[in-house]
C-alpha cells in the first residue's frame, strides 16, 4: 500500500511538472520513434553521382543511363575532372565517376571507370561503391554476354564449315582410293603386256634381206615363217594397242579425279581462310576481358590512409557538441539555481552582458580542451594545419558558439538541473543520431535526409572534414558556416528570450 501511494505520488508529481514529464517520458520516445522511422531502411537514397567523361562514347552514355534509371541515384554531369573532385570535397556529390576518353568495353586501359570517393566517410563509401557497381555490373554482364555470343557464333560458323570440309575430304579420300585402284589397274595392265618389241626377236632385217635375196626363189617355208612372225607381231601389237587404250582411259580418269580433287583442295583452302578470317575478326580474345569487359578502379580522394585521420574531424565535432551543450547547460543551471541569480538581475548590467559572460566562460574551457586535442593532432597532421589555421580557428569558433548557445538556451528553458541535463543529453543524442557518425544520413528517407543535412552537427562535421582532411579553403566551407551563423543567431535570440522568461518567473 505504501509503495502504491509512493508510486502514485511520484507519477502525480512527474505529470504535474509538465516540462520535466515531457522531457523524461517523451524525449527518449521521440528519439526512438524518429530514429526508428528514419533508419528503417536497407538501402541508400538520394545519392548524387558526379560523372566526368572527356567524350561521351556510346558505352559511356549507356552506363550513365543505366545509373540514371535507378531512382536511388541522381546523376550530375560535370565539365572537368577537377570540378568532379571538388564537388566530392564540398559534399555536392557523393561519388565521382570518371570515364576514359574512348571508353570501350574490354579494351585495355580504355575500359576502366574510376570511382573517386571520399574515403573519410568510412561507413558509406563501400555502400556507395557497391550500389553503383551493381548498376555497372548489369551493363558489364550485358557486354560480357555479347562478347561471348560473338565467340559462340564464330565457333558455330567454324563448326559448320568444318563439317562441310569433312564431307569434301571424305569424297577426296574415296577419289584417291579410286585413283589408287586405277593406278593398280594400269600397273596390272602394263605388267600384263607380254609383247616384247625386241627387233632381234623378229629378225626383221635378216628377213627383209633374205626376202630381198631370195625373193625369186622364195620358198613357202620362208613365207610361212614370215607369215607366222607377222601374225605374232600383229597379235602382240593388237594386244598392245588394247592395253594402251585401257591405260589411256585410266589415266584420263585419274586426271579428271585429280582435277576434281584440286578443286576440292582449293575449296578447302577458301573455307579455312574464311574460318581464320572469321576468328581473326573477333576483337576480344582475352578470357579476362570477355568475363569483365568494364573494369572499375577506386580512387580515394583523401591521401590519408589511417582511420584516425578520418575520425579526427568527427571526433572534434563530437567533443565540441557534447562539451559545449552540456557545459553551457550546466553553467546556466548552476547560475539559475544559486541564490545570487536574483542579485545579478538587479545590477545595472545588460542581459547580453550576462549571456556573453556565460558564453565566453564556456568558450574558454572549450578552447583549453581543443588546444590539447589539436596539440595532439599537430603531431599526426605534421604541421599541415598551419596553412589553414585561421580558417580552422574561425570555423571552430562558430561551431563552438552555436552549440554553446544551444546549451545555454536549454539551460534557461528548463527549471531543474536534472531535466536540463537530460534535455541537453537528448538534444546531443538527437543531433548525433541524425548525422553521418553512426549511420550515414543517406540511409534515411530523402525528405528526412534533407532535413538532417541542416543538422548543426552534420554541418560542423562537414566543415572540419573539408578543412582537416582536404585542406579546404574558407570558400569551401562558407555555405556551412553561413548556415551555422544563422543557427547561432537564432539560438542567441532564443537564449535571450528564455532568459527573460526565467527572469519573469523569478519576479513572480
Amino acid at each position: 500500500m505504501k509503495i502504491f501511494s509512493m508510486i502514485l505520488k511520484n507519477l502525480k508529481l512527474l505529470i504535474r511538472s509538465k516540462f520535466s514529464a515531457s522531457v523524461v517520458i517523451l524525449g527518449p520516445l521521440i528519439i526512438v520513434l524518429l530514429v526508428g522511422a528514419a533508419f528503417n531502411t536497407s538501402s541508400v537514397n538520394n545519392i548524387r553521382v558526379g560523372v566526368y567523361a572527356p567524350a561521351y562514347t556510346e558505352l559511356t552514355t549507356s552506363v550513365v543511363n543505366a545509373i540514371e534509371k535507378n531512382p536511388q541515384f541522381k546523376v550530375l554531369k560535370l565539365k572537368t575532372e577537377q570540378d568532379c573532385l571538388n564537388d566530392i570535397v564540398s559534399g555536392a556529390i557523393h561519388v565521382c565517376l570518371q570515364f576514359p576518353e574512348n571508353f570501350t568495353a574490354a579494351v585495355q586501359d580504355a575500359n576502366i571507370i574510376t570511382f573517386n570517393v571520399d574515403n573519410s566517410r568510412i561507413n558509406i563509401v563501400y555502400l556507395l561503391i557497391d550500389s553503383i557497381s551493381s548498376e555497372i555490373s548489369v551493363k558489364t554482364t550485358e557486354l560480357s554476354q555479347g562478347l561471348t555470343q560473338v565467340l559462340i557464333d564464330t565457333l558455330d560458323t567454324s563448326k559448320a564449315s568444318a563439317s562441310k570440309n569433312k564431307e569434301a575430304l571424305t569424297l577426296m579420300s574415296s577419289d584417291n582410293e579410286a585413283i589408287k585402284q586405277k593406278s593398280s589397274d594400269i600397273l596390272a595392265n602394263a605388267n600384263s603386256i607380254t609383247v616384247s618389241i625386241n627387233p632381234s626377236d623378229y629378225n626383221l632385217t635378216d628377213i627383209i634381206e633374205e626376202i630381198d635375196s631370195k625373193c625369186s626363189n622364195c620358198s613357202t617355208d620362208v613365207l610361212k615363217e614370215i607369215q607366222t612372225s607377222l601374225t605374232t607381231l600383229t597379235t602382240q601389237l593388237t594386244e598392245l594397242n588394247n592395253k594402251t587404250a585401257l591405260i589411256k582411259t585410266d589415266v584420263q580418269l585419274i586426271q579428271t579425279t585429280s582435277a576434281a580433287n584440286t578443286q576440292k583442295i582449293t575449296d578447302l583452302q577458301t573455307s579455312f581462310e574464311s574460318t581464320i578470317s572469321s576468328i581473326d575478326s573477333i576483337q576480344i580474345k582475352e578470357a579476362g576481358s570477355i568475363a569483365t569487359p568494364i573494369k572499375t578502379k577506386i580512387n580515394p580522394i583523401s591521401q590519408d590512409k589511417k582511420n584516425w585521420n578520418f575520425l579526427f574531424p568527427t571526433l572534434v565535432a563530437l567533443i565540441i557538441m557534447f562539451v559545449s551543450i552540456l557545459l553551457a547547460t550546466t553553467l546556466v543551471m548552476r547560475e539559475k539555481n544559486t541564490a545570487a541569480y536574483f542579485r545579478n538581475f538587479i545590477t545595472p548590467t545588460g542581459e547580453f552582458t550576462f549571456i556573453i559572460g556565460t558564453f565566453l566562460s564556456c568558450l574558454i574551457i572549450l578552447v583549453f580542451q581543443l588546444a590539447i586535442i589539436f596539440g595532439q593532432a599537430l603531431f599526426f597532421l605534421k604541421g599541415e594545419l598551419l596553412g589553414i589555421i585561421f580558417t580552422v580557428l574561425i570555423s571552430l569558433l562558430i561551431i563552438a558558439s552555436t552549440f554553446i548557445l544551444l546549451g545555454m538556451m536549454l539551460g534557461y528553458a528548463f527549471k531543474s538541473e536534472e531535466t536540463s541535463i537530460l534535455a541537453a543529453m537528448s538534444a546531443s543524442s538527437f543531433l548525433l543520431f541524425f548525422s553521418n557518425t553512426i549511420l550515414p544520413i543517406e540511409t534515411i528517407p530523402p525528405s528526412l535526409s534533407w532535413i538532417a543535412s541542416f543538422n548543426p552537427f552534420v554541418l560542423s562535421d562537414s566543415i572540419l572534414k573539408k578543412l582537416l582532411l582536404f585542406k579546404g579553403s574558407f570558400s569551401s566551407v562558407a555555405t556551412e558556416l553561413y548556415v551555422l551563423l544563422s543557427y547561432l543567431t537564432v539560438f542567441l535570440i532564443l537564449t535571450f528570450l528564455t532568459r527573460q522568461i526565467t527572469k519573469r518567473r523569478l519576479g513572480q
Partner: protein
Amino acid sequence: MAAPPFIQFQNVTKSYGKHLVLNDITVDIPFKEITGIIGSSGSGKTTLLNLLIGFIRTNSGKILFQSRELKKDIKNISTIFGFATQAGSFYGNLTIQENFYYFGSLYDLHKKDIEGRMNELLNLLELDYAKNVLAKDLSTGMQRRLDISLALIHNPKVLIMDEPTEDLDPILRKELVKIIRKIRDDGTTIIITSHLLNEIENLCDNIAILSDGRIIEFDSPTKLKDKYKKQSLDEVFEVVVQKFHKEEGIDPKKHDMPTYQIPFWWEKEEKRK
C-alpha cells in the same frame, strides 16, 4: 515649501494573468527613514518590492523617485536601490572578498572603489575577519550580514530588505536590528518587510499594512497603536485586516489561495475512487 516625498507609489496595479496581486497602491515612502511593510503571506509584499527595483513592470500607475518616474529612469534604478533577500543572494563557492569584487564589477565600480567600500562595509557589519572565507562556510547570521553588505556595495540611496530577520535566532536578530539602524543613521532610506511584527514595531519609523493587494494603513507604529487603541502592532494588524475584510466582504479563508488546474482525466480518476 515641503520637500517632495522620496518615493511615491501612485495608483500602482500589478496582476499576473487574472490574479490581481497589487490593487491601486498609493503610498509615500519618506527619506532616511525605515519603512516596514507588513502583511500576510501572498499579500503582495515581495511584488511591491520587485516593482520598486524595476524587476517587474506595473500594469498601471506610477512609481516616482524624487518626483522622477522610475520607469523612465530605468538605467538608474539599480544604482538607487540595494536589495537584501531572505535567501542570501551571493555565491556560496566564492569568498566574501570574491563576492564583493564580482558584484562590485557588475555595478561598474573600479577595483579600488570596491576595495574601499568592501572594507567599510565589512567593518560596519563586522565581517572583516572572514574576508577570505567561502560564503557557504559562514554562519547564518554572517551570511545575512554578507547579503546586506553586498546590497550596499554601490552605496544605494534606498536599501530594501525582504524578511531580513527570518530564520535568525533572537541574538542574531538583535544584532541585525542594530546594524539596520546603523545603516539608516548613515543616511540610507530603508524599506523592510517582515512577519515578525514586534521587531518591525521597534525598528521602523513607518508601517504600511498590506492586505489583498492594497495598502490599508500607513503610519508610524505609535500612531497606529494610538489610532486603534492597542498595545502592540500584532493586535493592530489583526484589527485592521479584519476590519478591511469586513468592509470589502472578503472571505479570509479563500483569499490569496493559489490555484492549480488538475487535468480533467486525473480528476475523473480521483472521483471514481
